[in-house]
Amino acid sequence: MIPAQIVNIAYVIAAVLFIFDLKWMSHPRTAVRGNMAGALGMALAIVVTLLSEQWDWRYMTVAAAVGALIGAVAALRVQMTSMPEMVALFNGFGGAASVLVAGSALIAAYAALGEAPPAAQDLQMKVATVLSALIGSVTFFGSYVAFGKLAEFLAVKWKLYAWQKAIKFSFSTIVAAGAIYYGVTAGVMPHGAGSTEGMLGIGIALCGALIGGILLRKSARFPGMDALKGLSALATVGAGVWVVLDPVNQVLFWGLVAIAGVLGVVLTLSIGGADMPVVIALLNSYSGLAAAATGFVLNNNVLIISGSLVGASGIILTQIMCKAMNRSLANVLFGTMGPTGDTPDADEVYKSVKSTSAEEIAMLLDDVQRVVIVPGYGMAVAQAQHTVRNLAQLLEAKDILVEYAIHPVAGRMPGHMNVLLAEADVEYDKLREMDAINPEMEQVDVCIVLGANDVVNPVAKTDPQSPIAGMPIIDVDQARTVIVIKRSLSPGFAGIPNPLFAADNALMFFNDGKKAIQAIIDAVKESD
């Protein structure tokens, strides 16, 4: 048995290691070391906890073994293009863990005694339990929705793969059935439908059915959705206050979790693909705050410190993403994005579009000095990062300077493009940030836009009425020639036409991203 003081000192060391983890993330050279420091801190915290008392090992060892196996398999097998889904899912697990710890602590502290312990012990625990459950539940259900939207099986009209159907239907069934079962057996049956617990039980069942039902729908919006957002937010706050007043009531606690779950679902469901970076960053922050709240429940400093570090990290990323779209967080969460009344007609904008071929592009690339590639989500979808790297190497062999311009919100999560290009062995010093590359755009001979649209739309600068007005863009239109690789002229997420495609210096190459780049590679090789 380690005495409590030593345990607490070990916790401080773990917290310091976490701080070093994040500090060393400031440079790719030190980041690997940082991650190892974090893992070491975690191992230390777990080991001293296990050595601090006599434990009933049965439950925890099984659970930890299962969790470690799932985590390891997921981490080693996930594709880099699927990173956003994985992070969304893991955020959700963090939220779920916080809810369950709070629930277990509540049962252990109150239900076992059958009454509230001395009043001093205490308001902090009650409030923290409520926050832990509330934030945790919003995080869990919100993250599931984000995961489902990223993996494209929630709120979509097209046909699903078998695994997508399996997840979608089993999640809905488990949530609905579990809530109805719990509501009836813990609320209605022992206390009668008319009692407070009975009503709460019915409420839990309804929330579960509502969540399950909403998640089966094929569209992201439904009539009364905004009303439901407001209503569930109010009900969540109300239930939270009620739990603080009556913490012994377990049915009430799970009622809070259920209604917060509804809130998490409706808040996230209507958010579209290009806004996902904001949402994932926000949920990341919530999972940290939930952990910090759990720290307040258990009076555990290492939880408080780690949780607030993660919370701060998520908030900063959220801010960066919002700024990169020139939108407020409220606008992302509650607003709608779409063409306004003044949006010019696409046919009018696109009447002078010039289409090109791989051979023409190869000729163009024959006598240039500087090429910039602007990747977007389309590169991830087409899994084109390796092909892009091959093209870059081919051009570099001809003494052409090839760089990549990365918009902060390109892709579906912060830094998504950078990871994909790193996977394809592109050195990170060739990846240029928007603010660094924009002043040099005029000296660029050829700019290749691959699967990006709104982030290169000059309308953001020229039309103050546009939905993307004021959004910082990569100034590809300043380059001597712009080649846009795209399947069709369909609009991007904002739903507005892009006059760049019809600009005098722009050429459209209509093709799938990967095939297009491969065709250019072949044509360049042939022309040699």
Binding site: G38, G71, F90, S104, V302, I304, D429
Partner: protein, 93 residues
């Protein structure tokens, strides 16, 4: 009350430390930052272990906490591993 004030002090100071160090993370590492901080938020495992292993709490409390242990372990193991996998790919000329 005293405990709460101490906890709150720690919380506020840690948030500031977080803001200070994370603003220095370059955009190129934002994805590993997210998966890495995700792993750190798996620290709830410490709380979950205490509750799941407690000798004197009810089986229900232990089972609920054990499920929390599972989720938190997924976060910890998966988070640090996948972050390592990603960071190992970042290379310089």
């Amino acid at each position: 009350m005293e405990i709460f004030v101490t906890a709150m002090t720690i919380f506020v100071l840690a948030v500031f430390v977080g803001f200070e160090i994370i603003t220095k993370v370059p955009p190129t590492l934002h994805t590993p930052l997210m998966s890495g901080s995700n792993a750190i938020s798996g620290i709830t495992i410490v709380g979950a272990l205490v509750l799941a292993g407690s000798m004197d709490s009810s089986p229900l409390a232990k089972i609920i906490a054990a499920i929390a242990v599972m989720f938190a372990t997924i976060n910890v193991v998966g988070g640090f591993l996948v972050t390592h996998r990603m960071l190992a790919m970042f290379k310089k000329k």
